[in-house]
C-alpha cells in the first residue's frame, strides 16, 4: 500500500464523516434556562469562605472587571454550572442532610466526567496554544484539564517553573527517573521545564513537541548545532534523539550509549572503528581496566570521550578538512 492509497482513503472517509457527523450532531435542546444565584459568588462564599476555595480570588479568573472571566458572568457557577439544588440543599446540611453536588465538580470521587469538565474550560480556553487539543494525545487519553491545573490556587503549580515538572512526572514517571540520572537537562534545577519543549495541549510535532520536529525544538536553545554545515553527519541532521536521550542518561552528554559502542552501531568500516573494545584486548593482557591505567595501556577510542576525542565535530564541520568530522 502506498501513501497515495492511504491519503485517498482518508479523504474518502472525510466525506463520509462530515455527512455522518452532521446527522449525529444534536440540535439545540429545549431545556429550561439555567437558574443562577442572584448574588453570584456571595451566595457561594456564605459556606465556602476559606482557603483553598477562596484562593481563586487571587487569580485572574476572579477579576470581575475583565469581561472574559468567570467572575464577570455568574462567578462560581460559570464553571460549576447553575446549581440551585446545591444551594438549596446547603441550608439543610445542618439538619444532617447530605448536600446535593454542584452541577459540575472538578475534583474528588464525585467529579464530573472528564468530557464535561473539559468542556467548561474549553468554552474559553480553546484558542492559541490549545488549538490542537482535539485529538491530541492527552485529550484522547481522557486527561482532564484539572488533572494538571489547580484553579483554586494563587499560582497554579503547573504554571510555575519550579513546580511544573513534578506535576507532569505524576504520570510521566520514566521522564522523572531520567531527570534524576547522572547526566540530565537542568529540569530538577528549575532552569528547563517541560513546557519549554512540549505543548501539552496538542501539537503537530512528535511527542507533543512545540516544534514540528525534534531538531527544530533542540535548535531553539542550541542554535550552534543548526548549521547547515559543509560536512553534515546524517544521524545528527536526521534526529538529535538518534544519539541523545533528552531527559537524562547514565552516560555523559545525555548519550543513549557510551562511545565507542554508540558509534560502532553504524560505523564498522574497518581499521580502528571495529576493534573489539573489551576488558582485556584493548587494554593489554597485563592491564587492569578497573585499576589505574598505565601509559599506553588503552586504545584511544576507550578513553575520555571515545571516538569524539578526534571526531569532535560530530554535529557537523565547517572546515574544508572536516570530512572526517575532526576539525
Amino acid at each position: 500500500m502506498t501513501i497515495k492509497h492511504v491519503v485517498t482513503g482518508l479523504f474518502a472517509g472525510i466525506v463520509f464523516l462530515l455527512g455522518a457527523s452532521a446527522w449525529a450532531a444534536e440540535g439545540p435542546s429545549a431545556a429550561t434556562q439555567p437558574v443562577y444565584a442572584k448574588k453570584a459568588e456571595l451566595t457561594c462564599m456564605k459556606c465556602h469562605d476559606s482557603a483553598p476555595v477562596t484562593d481563586i480570588l487571587k487569580t485572574p479568573h476572579a477579576m470581575k472587571a475583565d469581561s472574559r472571566t468567570p467572575f464577570a458572568e455568574h462567578a462560581c457557577e460559570t464553571c460549576h454550572g447553575a446549581s440551585p439544588e446545591h444551594i438549596a440543599s446547603a441550608a439543610r446540611v445542618s439538619e444532617g442532610e447530605k448536600p446535593v453536588m454542584p452541577a459540575v465538580l472538578f475534583t474528588g470521587k464525585d467529579a464530573s466526567p472528564v468530557e464535561v469538565r473539559n468542556k467548561v474550560c474549553l468554552s474559553c480556553h480553546d484558542e492559541g496554544m490549545r488549538v490542537d487539543w482535539q485529538g491530541s494525545q492527552h485529550e484522547s487519553n481522557n486527561v482532564a484539564c484539572t488533572n494538571c491545573h489547580t484553579i483554586h490556587r494563587d499560582k497554579d503549580p503547573v504554571l510555575v517553573k519550579a513546580t511544573q515538572p513534578e506535576k507532569c512526572f505524576t504520570c510521566h514517571s520514566k521522564q522523572r527517573a531520567e531527570s534524576f540520572e547522572f547526566s540530565h537537562h537542568p529540569i530538577r534545577e528549575g532552569k528547563v521545564v517541560c513546557s519549554d519543549c512540549h505543548n501539552p495541549h496538542g501539537s503537530a510535532g512528535p511527542t507533543l513537541l512545540k516544534e514540528f520536529t525534534v531538531n527544530d525544538t533542540c535548535y531553539n536553545c542550541h542554535p550552534e548545532k543548526r548549521g547547515p554545515f559543509l560536512w553534515e553527519h546524517e544521524p545528527a541532521r536526521d534526529n538529535c534523539s538518534n544519539c541523545h536521550t533528552p531527559h537524562g542518561s547514565t552516560q555523559a552528554r545525555l548519550l543513549t550509549e557510551r562511545p565507542p559502542f554508540l558509534c560502532n552501531e553504524c560505523h564498522q568500516e574497518g581499521d580502528h572503528q571495529i576493534s573489539p573494545w573489551s576488558g582485556n584486548v584493548t587494554l593489554g593482557v597485563n592491564a587492569n581496566i578497573a585499576g589505574t591505567l598505565t601509559q599506553g595501556a588503552a586504545a584511544t577510542q576507550m578513553l575520555a570521550r571515545g571516538c569524539v576525542n578526534c571526531h569532535s565535530q560530530v554535529h557537523g564541520s565547517n572546515s574544508q578538512a572536516g570530512a572526517f568530522l575532526t576539525r
Binding site: F16, L17, A25, E265, V285, G296, C310, S317
Partner: protein
C-alpha cells in the same frame, strides 16, 4: 565591564525601577515579600554546581523577592503589576549566576508587557588539563619542541596467548624503547599541562508585548537576546592526524530571536499565525593553534605565519520560520485542524581552512559555503464524532526538508605544485564531496474510538509513514503501525489505560555505504561490512505496550502505577544493532495521614538494553570462519523518591525529602565465529573478548527544610542538605596526560598520542546549610 555584567545590570535596574511606580498604588496586605539569607557549602564540585553556578565551597549570599501591585479581584479595575526575582545568589567568584528576574505589567484582557532576565550557568570542570589556553596559545611550550612521534613503533604490551609472540611484530627491545620514548614525552609535557576551569554562562534578556484591543484578535511580539560565554571541553586531531589534544574550546556566542504572532478566535474559527527570526552569531570563527610535536619537516612549524591546526567553530547562521494553525468547527461535533510552516535555515560563514601559511595551498579558494536548507511542514487533522459514542480522528502530515546547499568538490590535485602537504588526511589525490542530505516524510494516521461502556472506550489506530532520502544509506523507509488502546474508569475511584501496538518498518537499501563512500571512502579505502544495518534506518519491527492505573482511594490517599515497554528487532541487520528494548515501570503514592501531614513516595525501575554485533577487524571479508564480537549493553536504573511535609502549627512547618538514582551499565561482550561449526576461534588476542567492568553512577540528595513564623509577616527559613554523587567508571582512572594506541596488527605501529582532559572522578559529598529571613508587606 563585560557584556555579561552589562546585561545583568540592565535587567536589575529595570526590576528595581518599575516597582517604584507601582508602589504609588494601593496594594493589598502581604502581596509583597523579600527573602535574604546566607548559605554554606562544604566543598567544591563542578558536577554539584553545574547548573546552579555554585561549584565552590564557602559562603554565599542568597535572596529573592516578589512585588505584586495588581488590582484586587473586586476593585472594578484590571491592572496588574508583578515583579519577581529568584536565585539572587552571590559569592566571591560570581554575581547572580543563575538569577531569574521578571516584570509584568498590563491591563487584563487589553494589553500587557513583560521583561525578563535568566542566567543559566553550566560548569563542566574545575580540573580540566590542557596544553592550550582558550585562544590557542601553547602555555609556555614552544611549537615543535616535542620529539617526533610519527613512525614510532610501539604496540600495547599484548602477547599471543598461544605462541607468546608480541602483537604487531614488536620485539621486547622495541617495546622497551617505545615505552622509554613515551615516558620522555610525558616528562617533557607535564610542566606545561595546566589545570583550568571550564564552563559557560548564558545571560538571556528579553521582553514581549501583547495587545488584545481588537475584537477576536490578539497580537504579540517578543525579542530575546542571549549571550553565551566561556569555554567547553573539547579536543582536536592535529593536522598530521597523529595526536589528539584536549583544549578549552572558546565560546563567545550571541543569539537574537524575534517573534511576532497574531491570533484570531471565534467560536467556529481559530487561527494563529507567527513569524520567528533566529540569528546565531559566533564571534569567533576558528580555534587556531600549533602542533606541539614536530612534523616530518621540523622547520615547517617555525615558518612565518604558519598555523598548523585550525579547528572550525560553530558557523554563524540564521533561520526564518513562518507558522500557521487554523482550526475550524465544521459541525458541532466535527473539527478540522491544520498546521503548516515554512523554515529557511542559512549559513554563509567563511570556510575554515585546513591550515594557513607556507607551504599550504588551500583546498578551496576562500569564500563562503552559502548553505541553505528549506523546510516545509503541513498537517491536517479531522476530529469527529460521527455517531454517538464514536470518535474518529484522521490526519495527514508532510515534512519536506530540502538541503539546497551546493555540493563542494575537494579537487584531487589541490596543491598548485602537486605537492602533498603536511595534512596526511587529505593527501589521497582523489576528489571527495559533501552531501546535502534531504528528506521527505509523509505520515497518515487513522484512529477510531468507541465507548463500549459509558466509562470504557476502546480505540484502534493505524499509522503509515513513508520517508524518502537523498544521499543516504537507505533511499526509502515505510513503516506501518497498528494497535489498540483501552481507557476505562473501572470505578469512581479507579482509572486505567492499556495500549499495545505493533509496527513494521522496511528499508530500501539502494546503495549500502552510500554516504560513507561519497565523502570518505576514497580516503580510507574501507567500507562497512555487508549486512550492517544502521539502527535508525534499518528494517525494524517494534512491539510496544503502555499502561497506567490510578486509584483515588480518598481525599487523603491516591496511588498510581505506570509502565512502558518496547522491544525492537532488526530482521535484516546482521551487524549493528540487532535487538533492543526499554522498560520503565513504577508506582507513585501520595498520602495525607492527617490534614497537617502530606507524604509522597515514588519508585521507577528502568532497563535499557541494546544488543549489537560487530565484525572483527582481523578479517573484514566476513566469510565463513571469520570472527565477530558482540556487546549486550544494559543500563539498569532504580530511582526512588520520598518526601513529607508537616505543618506542625500555625507558625511552624518542616519538609523532608530524599531522592536517589542508582544506575548501572553492564557491558556483556563476547566473540564468535560467523559460521564454522566445530571450529575454534583463531588464537588472536583480539578474540579473547571479556566484558568491561560495570559502570555505576549514584546521585543521592537529602533535604530537610523548615519555616518558622516570628510574626505574621516575618518568617525564619532554614535548610540542611546532603548531596552525594558516586561514579565508578574506568574512564576516571586515567591520568591527565595519557595516550592510546591506534590498535592494529603487524605493520600498523601505535603512533597516536592522546592528551586527555584528566578531569578525574567527579564524585562528591557535599553538605549545605542555609538560613534566611522572609519579610512580607
Amino acid at each position: 565591564m563585560t557584556t555579561k555584567f552589562t546585561l545583568r545590570a540592565a535587567a536589575l535596574a529595570s526590576t528595581c525601577l518599575l516597582p517604584l511606580a507601582a508602589f504609588a498604588q494601593e496594594a493589598p496586605d502581604y502581596n509583597n515579600e523579600a527573602t535574604m539569607g546566607t548559605r554554606f557549602q562544604s566543598s567544591d564540585s563542578a558536577l554539584f554546581g553545574r547548573y546552579s553556578g555554585t561549584p565552590f565551597g564557602g559562603f554565599y549570599g542568597t535572596g529573592s523577592f516578589k512585588l505584586d501591585a495588581s488590582d484586587a479581584w473586586n476593585s472594578g479595575k484590571t491592572e496588574y503589576f508583578l515583579a519577581e526575582g529568584d536565585n539572587l545568589d552571590v559569592d566571591g567568584h560570581q554575581l547572580f549566576p543563575d538569577a531569574e528576574l521578571s516584570v509584568k505589567y498590563g491591563e487584563r484582557g487589553k494589553w500587557g508587557i513583560q521583561a525578563f532576565y535568566d542566567g543559566i550557568p553550566y560548569w563542566q570542570s574545575l580540573g580540566f588539563h590542557s596544553l592550550y589556553n582558550s585562544s590557542g596559545a601553547l602555555k609556555g611550550l614552544t611549537p615543535g619542541s616535542l620529539p617526533v612521534n610519527s613512525g614510532l613503533s610501539y604496540t600495547p604490551p599484548t602477547a599471543d596467548p598461544v605462541t607468546g609472540a608480541l602483537s604487531g611484530g614488536a620485539t621486547p627491545g622495541e617495546l622497551a624503547a617505545g615505552q622509554s620514548f613515551l615516558n620522555g614525552i610525558f616528562a617533557a609535557v607535564s610542566p606545561f599541562n595546566s589545570t583550568q576551569f571550564v564552563g559557560t554562562q548564558r545571560d538571556i534578556v528579553g521582553g514581549s508585548a501583547t495587545y488584545m484591543g481588537l475584537a477576536n484578535w490578539t497580537f504579540s511580539t517578543g525579542l530575546k537576546h542571549e549571550h553565551k560565554q566561556g569555554t567547553m571541553e573539547s579536543s582536536f586531531a592535529t593536522n598530521d592526524m597523529n595526536n589528539a589534544l584536549a583544549f578549552p574550546e572558546p565560546v563567545d556566542w550571541d543569539t537574537d530571536t524575534y517573534s511576532a504572532s497574531a491570533r484570531y478566535s471565534t467560536k467556529q474559527l481559530k487561527a494563529v499565525f507567527s513569524y520567528t527570526f533566529s540569528n546565531f552569531n559566533d564571534n569567533l570563527t576558528s580555534f587556531n593553534t600549533l602542533n606541539p610535536f614536530n612534523l616530518s619537516d621540523p622547520s615547517l612549524q617555525l615558518a612565518p605565519g604558519y598555523v598548523g591546526s585550525i579547528y572550525s567553530l560553530p558557523p554563524s547562521n540564521d533561520a526564518h520560520q513562518l507558522k500557521g494553525q487554523v482550526s475550524y468547527l465544521l459541525t458541532p461535533t466535527t473539527r478540522i485542524n491544520t498546521d503548516f510552516g515554512y523554515q529557511l535555515m542559512q549559513q554563509n560563514s567563511s570556510n575554515t581552512l585546513a591550515y594557513q601559511g607556507a607551504p599550504a595551498n588551500p583546498y578551496l579558494p576562500g569564500g563562503n559555503y552559502n548553505a541553505q536548507i528549506q523546510q516545509m511542514y503541513g498537517n491536517i487533522a479531522l476530529n469527529a464524532r460521527p455517531l454517538p459514542k464514536t470518535d474518529i480522528r484522521a490526519s495527514y502530515s508532510i515534512n519536506d526538508r530540502e538541503d539546497d546547499s551546493p555540493r563542494v568538490f575537494i579537487p584531487a590535485d589541490y596543491g598548485a605544485t602537486g605537492q602533498i602537504t603536511a595534512d596526511t588526511l587529505m593527501s589521497s589525490h582523489v576528489p571527495i564531496a559533501n552531501l546535502p542530505i534531504s528528506e521527505l516524510d509523509q505520515t497518515a494516521k487513522l484512529e477510531a474510538g468507541y465507548h463500549i461502556l459509558p466509562s470504557t472506550k476502546v480505540t484502534a489506530f493505524y499509522t503509515y509513514k513513508d520517508q524518502q532520502r537523498d544521499y543516504s544509506v537507505t533511499d526509502r523507509n515505510h513503516e506501518s503501525t497498528e494497535g489498540a488502546r483501552v481507557n476505562s474508569s473501572l470505578s469512581n475511584t479507579i482509572n486505567g489505560m492499556l495500549s499495545y501496538s505493533h509496527s513494521v518498518r522496511s528499508a530500501t537499501d539502494y546503495n549500502d555505504n552510500a554516504a560513507w563512500v561519497a565523502n570518505t571512502y576514497y580516503l580510507s579505502g574501507l567500507a562497512n561490512p555487508a549486512g550492517l544495518g544502521m539502527y535508525y534506518l534499518a528494517a525494524r519491527t517494534r512491539d510496544e505496550i503502555k499502561g497506567n492505573l490510578t486509584w483515588s482511594a480518598s481525599d487523603a490517599l491516591s496511588a498510581g502505577l505506570t509502565g512502558k515497554f518496547y522491544n525492537d528487532h532488526y530482521p535484516t541487520s546482521f551487524y549493528g544493532v540487532t535487538n533492543d528494548h526499554t522498560l520503565s515501570v513504577g508506582p507513585d503514592i501520595a498520602y495525607s495521614p492527617t490534614k497537617s501531614v502530606t507524604t509522597h513516595l515514588f519508585y521507577t525501575f528502568e532497563e535499557v538494553f541494546t544488543d549489537q554485533l560487530a565484525s572483527n577487524q582481523n578479517d573484514p571479508s566476513q566469510t565463513a570462519g571469520s570472527t565477530t564480537w558482540s556487546l549486550g549493553n544494559k543500563d539498569t536504573i532504580h530511582t526512588v523518591g520520598a518526601s513529607a511535609d508537616w505543618q506542625i502549627s500555625d507558625k511552624a512547618k518542616i519538609s523532608l525529602s530524599e531522592n536517589l538514582s542508582y544506575g548501572n551499565t553492564a557491558f556483556a561482550e563476547g566473540a564468535s565465529l560467523i559460521s564454522a561449526p566445530g571450529s575454534v576461534l583463531p588464537a588472536f588476542p583480539e578474540n579473547l573478548v571479556s566484558a568491561l567492568p560495570n559502570d555505576t553512577t549514584i546521585l543521592n540528595s537529602i533535604l530537610l527544610s523548615g519555616e518558622y513564623k516570628l510574626a505574621s509577616n516575618v518568617s525564619l527559613l532554614g535548610s540542611y542538605s546532603f548531596d552525594r554523587a558516586v561514579a565508578k567508571d574506568y574512564l576516571y582512572n586515567q591520568p591527565s596526560t595519557a595516550f592510546g594506541n591506534s590498535f592494529g596488527g603487524a605493520g600498523n605501529p601505535a603512533d597516536y598520542l592522546e592528551f586527555l582532559p584528566g578531569d578525574g572522578n567527579p564524585s562528591y559529598s557535599i553538605h549545605t546549610v542555609s538560613m534566611a529571613v522572609r519579610v512580607k508587606w
